[in-house]
């Protein structure tokens, strides 16, 4: 028998800058997911919270924080943190509990309340923390790293600023149709080109904002889903949470340098490509089987890298896909049908869960105007600071 778990419910609190506590966003998303599943909170045997580091102690123990907000009912609790990959870790922990027979119904919740502007490291004088050091010594913000990758692509693959802008145009067109998105209006290439340069060559509209938001999933065993009369639920077939392989030769946040290759030859392929490869192997399918993908477009240029890393095209051909319209709604393999981070902004611990919410709605055929006709399989891909892989394969 397969190692599938069922997605019975998906729910979100709209992304934005709402000025309230992350707990409220998470609770709203959780209740929406439970309602979607037709279950009560008291039916849940385990809750897994994806932590946030931006709201003090309650954020570090998000599982219990959400359980308390929903009303203590004795469920098993887990709290996980893996930066941008926290949501995938939460889904992975929930799935492991279900497959191990420890719980039939697990509620996965992630939410964040983000500050305006650049993400900054935790306070204090901490010269042993690479995240503190990169700001102190270099002033290297997240967009600075995105810009280094973008410039490198331009030099090595011939990508252009117009290619990057097309990613924003495409994602904004999809996000316009998503009631949970923060930015819901079309964007033109001219508007991208007219926005301020943040870190050369990337402009404001090439870079994702930081957002408030919350997302939740109700995951169950396949037997439980059938017992509730859901014979053909959306299923999670793989969760990849791999780490990099030494020596890591692509500069990554928050590092000041890569590993050296003096002692070991670099392994073939990037860390990002290994994330997707592990997910495909576990799911027993490949990029050709996909109906859609949700990838982590922290910048427009980075979305093009993901096309290559998840195997939609060969290395260096990402820009060709967006130029052809292959990854737009109506294209051969739509990417970021939700509108992506370009339309949401990043609510860190909620984001990987939100990606799976989008797959769920697409695979059910309930994505409305964003619907990919006949969607049967999708992958989400993401990468957390400090070496956290994150990819989920869902099928119907």
């Amino acid at each position: 028998m397969s190692a599938d778990v069922a997605v019975l419910g998906a729910g979100m609190h709209p992304w934005g800058k709402w000025g309230r506590s992350f707990v409220e966003y998470g609770r709203t998303a959780a209740r929406a997911a439970l309602a979607d599943a037709g279950l009560d909170w008291t039916d849940v045997g385990s809750i897994v919270g994806a932590d946030t580091v931006r709201s003090g102690y309650p954020g570090y123990v998000a599982g219990a924080t959400f359980a308390r907000a929903l009303g203590w009912q004795g469920a098993r609790v887990t709290s996980v943190y893996a930066a941008c990959a926290s949501g995938a870790q939460a889904i992975g922990a929930a799935r492991a509990q279900i497959l191990a027979g420890l719980a039939d119904v697990v509620l996965v919740v992630g939410a964040d309340a983000a500050p305006k502007g650049f993400f900054a490291p935790a306070g204090g004088e901490r010269p042993d923390d690479p995240d503190w050091l990169r700001f102190r010594v270099l002033g290297a913000t997240n967009p600075a790293y995105f810009a280094l990758y973008a410039r490198r692509r331009m030099a090595v693959h011939g990508d252009t600023l117009e290619d990057f802008a097309q990613v924003k145009v495409k994602n904004a067109a999809a996000g316009r149709l998503n009631p949970h998105a923060r930015y819901r209006k079309a964007v033109t290439a001219q508007e991208v080109a007219a926005s301020a340069v943040v870190a050369d060559p990337l402009r404001l509209l090439d870079i994702c904002a930081t957002s408030d938001g919350g997302a939740a999933l109700v995951l169950t065993s396949m037997d439980f889903a059938r017992s509730r009369g859901v014979a053909d639920p959306v299923r999670i077939r793989a969760v990849s949470t791999v780490t990099p392989a030494y020596p890591r030769t692509v500069l990554d946040l928050p590092d000041i340098a890569t590993d050296s290759t003096t002692a070991a030859d670099p392994v073939a392929g990037s860390f990002r490509s290994s994330i997707a490869r592990a997910a495909y192997e576990e799911a027993g399918l490949g990029p050709r089987d996909l109906s859609l993908a949700e990838v982590y477009d922290l910048s427009t240029a980075l979305e093009l890298e993901w096309y290559e890393d998840i195997g939609l095209c060969a290395e260096g051909e990402g820009a060709k896909l967006v130029r052809e319209g292959a990854t737009a709604l109506g294209g051969r393999i739509p990417v970021n049908t939700s509108g992506g981070l370009a339309s949401f902004g990043e609510a860190v611990p909620a984001q990987a869960i939100a990606q799976v919410c989008e797959l769920t709605w697409q695979l059910r055929g309930t994505a409305g105007e964003r619907q990919v006709p006949g969607a049967r399989a999708g992958i989400t891909a993401n990468q957390g600071l400090f070496g956290h892989g994150s990819a989920v394969v869902a099928v119907r």
């Binding site: 270099l138 913000t141 020596p247 890569t258 050296s260 003096t262």
Partner: protein, 152 residues
Amino acid sequence: MARTRTPVVSGWFTENAADGGGFRLLGTRCSACTAVFFPREDAYCRNPRCPGGGELAEVPLSPRGRVWSYTDGRYRPPAPYVSDPAEPWEPYTLLAVELEAEGMVVLGQGAPGVEVADLAVGTEVEVVGGVLGEDAETTWVTWQFKPVGGAG
């Protein structure tokens, strides 16, 4: 009042390399497996296939490398980056430089006057000492990159 010149992080570079080569970044090298680390790793070797039993010895890194990529910072970074909020923000250039001998890419700010327009992927650059910032008592010294024989 004279300010004290202090490295922004101690042990990451020297202004007088032992080989007489002037300013150099300092890493460490594992005597058991030859892995090089920057920023320096003094407590353990991170190569998973290292046979073990080695020591991590300080080693100067290559003085020159080639640009892997580059960008600039058009907006003031948040603390702990030190800048005077009363002064207008002056963008600086940020370089990722590939050191061939070590097989690694190292980040560093461009020396004053080095602009994005002066650079291309593959440009040869050298590491030089520079000033990250100053406060009442201290001149914070750091490493910077500049094109070999070129701008800056």
